[in-house]
């Protein structure tokens, strides 16, 4: 049985992360942006798992669990923020969310 080389996983992880970054920067809908963040997190998870497997160490796996937990919490908070935003400004466009500026 042939083993899939480690670089394949890493390239896939990199491609997924790059797609997440591009989507984050170019998409306007807040929910899409939110999804692109999840995509980036999972790309990183993939890289962690790959290295854990390659080095036969458990640290990477543990880290992935933490990331999943944080992502879940973040999703809960983030979606609540998105709901409040959509209620307050009747829009989900990121262009309208510029209140960080003084």
């Amino acid at each position: 049985m042939s083993v899939v080389p480690i670089s394949y996983y890493l390239v896939l992880s990199g491609v997924l992360f790059g797609l997440g970054v591009i989507a984050f920067v170019y998409k306007r809908n807040v929910i899409t942006i939110f999804m692109s963040i999840e995509l980036m997190l999972n790309a990183v998870n993939l890289a962690f798992v790959t290295f854990a497997r390659a080095h036969n160490q458990v640290d990477g796996l543990v880290f992935v669990f933490f990331v999943i937990v944080v992502a879940a919490a973040e999703a809960a908070v983030g979606l609540a923020v998105v709901i409040m935003l959509s209620q307050n400004r009747q829009s989900l466009s990121i262009e309208r969310i510029n209140h960080l500026k003084l």
């Binding site: 970054v21 984050f24 920067v25 990121i94 262009e95 969310i97 510029n98 209140h99 960080l100 500026k101």
Partner: protein, 662 residues
């Protein structure tokens, strides 16, 4: 001996008066301001009288009596004490300043009664008294300099008293800036004195110069530098131009500051520094030449002036020239004597002129006066007495003092025929222009508007000072009358210790015989007969001047015009004061203004300094403007910047990694 051990009281009185009036006088009534101002100078005068009494009980070896109050500053070997001293010269100056100042304070209460800023005027006047007394009582050059600059400040404030009038404000500035040129020389002179003697204390300097041989070049340099200060302050050539303009100030100020006291500070300083000057023959010659030329030159300008106060101003410049001539030919006591008599008769002339101006409703042009003799008799008589005194008519104060100067210039140890000649001609011109003033003002037909001008004699607080000064103008000279006319020369003998204590020792027998008794020795002088012959000259020219003025302005009133027409060029030259103001303006003032405006202001200040300051501000602002765009508030731009940052770091880490790998 209370006052002698508390000399500072004499200074503190006018200073306190000035402070009280300056701080609180604004809300007070005129009598209240008067009582503070006149009260303080009255007490000052009384303490000076008390000082005279105590002084007479001192033994000669206690002189000069120095009161050292506190150490003002110490820096290495440089030490300045706030020290005051009294000797015969100081005493004479104290009496003149306090007495004339007191009279002029009283006169001012009448003259300034209808003016705004009454309290301010008296505050300045008291402050002037304080600084002038500091100047004459100082025991070292630095304290003297404080007084020296202080009187300059008060002069500036009082010339520009009517500061809303542009000409007055300009005249104040002119006085301040012109004297500053001289003061620069004075300051350098003080520094050079310290560098040479290691002290600025009069006593130490004089002892040192008398006992140590110091190169004549150094002494000449010090003397000439100090004299530069005197040239500015005492309005000598070429820095005299401020004094005629200073007549923009109120007339009592012209009388006190610009005739009787402040302008004579230069003469006092030269007399005070006599041990230095006497050892620098070159400097003495310079002093004498400047004095003689000024005496003659400004007398010629006085001939044609029509403003009554300006005639007197040029006359003051001229008389100050005589005082310097006296100092320059080594007869300091004659210079101080003329200073004293001049203080009396010139203060009187100015105060009387003020009374005339008061009478004709503020008019100063003599061409618009005339025939005032019967209408203001007290002013007329007192002014006539002062004129007789300044013209040098025998018996009056000016006769004795001017004679003594001319005698010293013509027959003294440093006699010089040319200087004497300038002095004699100047004396004739003085007599002429003063009688011209009298004739134009008081004689002939009235040329003022008789319908509208109500001519009236001045109030009593103005006429009484006039009368007292007239008395002094007659008798003030008598106690210095020379032996030749049966006098006692008390004044010269009184001052002699000041001028002989550190006088240079004569080197040749001939000089020794001449200088054997330098101040009172004229009568035993081999040149006695010459002096006799010379004594008749000043009287002659004085009478000639009177006759000429009488002939031109009383006998043939049309003659002056015809005479002016026949020498039109010369007349216009003198009438325009030799265009000196215009020449100074073209040669000094305008180039300086041009350089200041274009180089210092526009190029250096606006271009360079403002450029650097504003440029750095503008650069910071531009950088901030750029950096501000980072914080657009747009989430996506933040995300992009984060991305840029991450990429940047990645590239950096990679580069480091690759370098490490090599």
């Amino acid at each position: 001996m209370p006052i002698l051990h508390h000399l500072w009281i004499i200074l503190a009185l006018p200073l306190a008066g000035s402070a009280v009036n300056g701080l609180f006088g604004k809300r007070w009534s005129q009598p209240a301001v008067n009582s503070v101002a006149v009260g303080s100078v009255t007490l000052g005068l009384l303490s000076v009288f008390e000082l005279v009494r105590e002084f007479s009980q001192l033994s000669p070896d206690q002189l000069p009596f120095v009161g050292n109050y506190f150490t003002w500053m110490v820096a290495g070997p440089f030490r300045v004490d706030f020290a005051l001293q009294v000797d015969q010269l100081t005493l004479v100056m104290l009496l003149v300043v306090s007495f004339v100042g007191w009279l002029i304070h009283i006169y001012s209460t009448g003259y300034m009664a209808h003016e705004g800023g009454y309290y301010r005027f008296f505050s300045y006047l008291n402050l002037f008294m304080f600084f002038m007394l500091t100047l004459v009582m100082a025991a070292n050059l630095i304290v003297m300099f404080v007084g020296w600059e202080g009187v300059g400040l008060c002069s500036y404030l009082l010339i520009g008293f009517w500061f809303l009038k542009k000409s007055a404000a300009d005249a104040g500035k002119k006085a301040f800036i012109t004297t500053r040129i001289g003061d620069y020389g004075f300051t350098v002179g003080v520094l050079l004195t310290f560098a040479t003697f290691g002290s600025i204390d009069f006593g130490t300097i004089f002892k040192s110069v008398a006992s140590n041989p110091i190169s004549e070049t150094t002494l000449t340099a010090i003397s000439i530098l100090l004299f530069t200060g005197a040239v500015g302050k005492s309005a000598q050539l070429p820095l005299y131009v401020w004094l005629p303009d200073a007549m923009e100030g109120p007339t009592p100020v012209s009388a006190l500051i610009h005739a009787a006291t402040m302008v004579t500070a230069g003469v006092y300083m030269v007399a005070r520094m006599n041990p230095l000057f006497s050892r620098a023959p070159m400097a003495m010659l310079v002093v004498a030449i400047v004095g003689a030329i000024t005496a003659f030159y400004s007398a010629t300008i006085g001939l044609l002036q029509t403003d009554i106060k300006r005639v007197l101003a040029y006359s003051t410049v001229s008389q100050l020239g005589y005082m310097f001539l006296a100092c320059g030919v080594g007869s300091y006591s004659a210079g101080i004597f003329h200073l004293m008599t001049h203080a009396f008769f010139k203060a009187l002339l100015f105060l009387a002129a003020g009374s005339v101006i008061h009478a004709v409703g503020g008019e100063q042009d003599m061409m618009k006066m005339g025939g005032l003799r019967q209408k203001i008799p007290i002013t007329y008589w007192t002014m006539l007495i002062a004129t007789l005194a300044i013209a040098g008519i025998p018996g009056f104060a000016g006769f004795f003092s001017k004679d003594e100067i001319l005698e010293a210039a013509g027959a003294g140890p440093r006699a010089n025929f040319l200087l004497w000649l300038l002095g004699i001609v100047g004396a004739g011109l003085t007599s002429f222009y003063m009688f011209r003033l009298i004739f134009l003002t008081f004689f002939g037909t009235p040329r003022y508007d008789e319908q509208h001008v109500h001519v009236h004699e001045s109030p009593r607080n103005m006429t009484i000072p006039l009368t007292i000064l007239a008395f002094c103008s007659i008798f003030g000279g008598w106690f210095a009358a020379p032996h030749l006319v049966g006098g006692t020369e008390y004044f010269q003998r009184f001052l002699a210790p000041v001028f002989s204590m550190y006088a240079p020792q004569p080197t040749t027998p001939q000089a020794a015989s001449l200088a054997g008794n330098p101040e009172s020795g004229m009568a035993h002088n081999p040149a006695l007969e010459l002096a006799h012959a010379i004594l008749s000259w000043p009287v002659g020219v004085a009478i000639a001047g009177f006759l000429l003025a009488w002939w031109l302005y009383i006998r043939n009133p049309d003659a002056p015009k015809r005479l002016a027409a026949s020498v039109r060029g010369l007349y216009s030259l003198v009438f325009h004061k030799y265009y000196v103001d215009e020449i100074y303006s073209a040669l000094i003032v305008r180039p300086l203004l041009w350089i200041s405006t274009n180089v210092f202001w526009h190029a250096i200040d606006e271009g360079l300094i403002d450029g650097v300051v504003n440029g750095s501000a503008r650069a910071a602002r531009a950088a901030g403007g750029r950096a501000r765009e980072l914080q657009s508030g747009n989430t996506r731009s933040y995300a992009s910047w984060v991305l840029v940052g991450v990429l940047g770091f990645t590239v950096l880490l990679l580069a480091l990694y690759l370098r490490g790998a090599q």
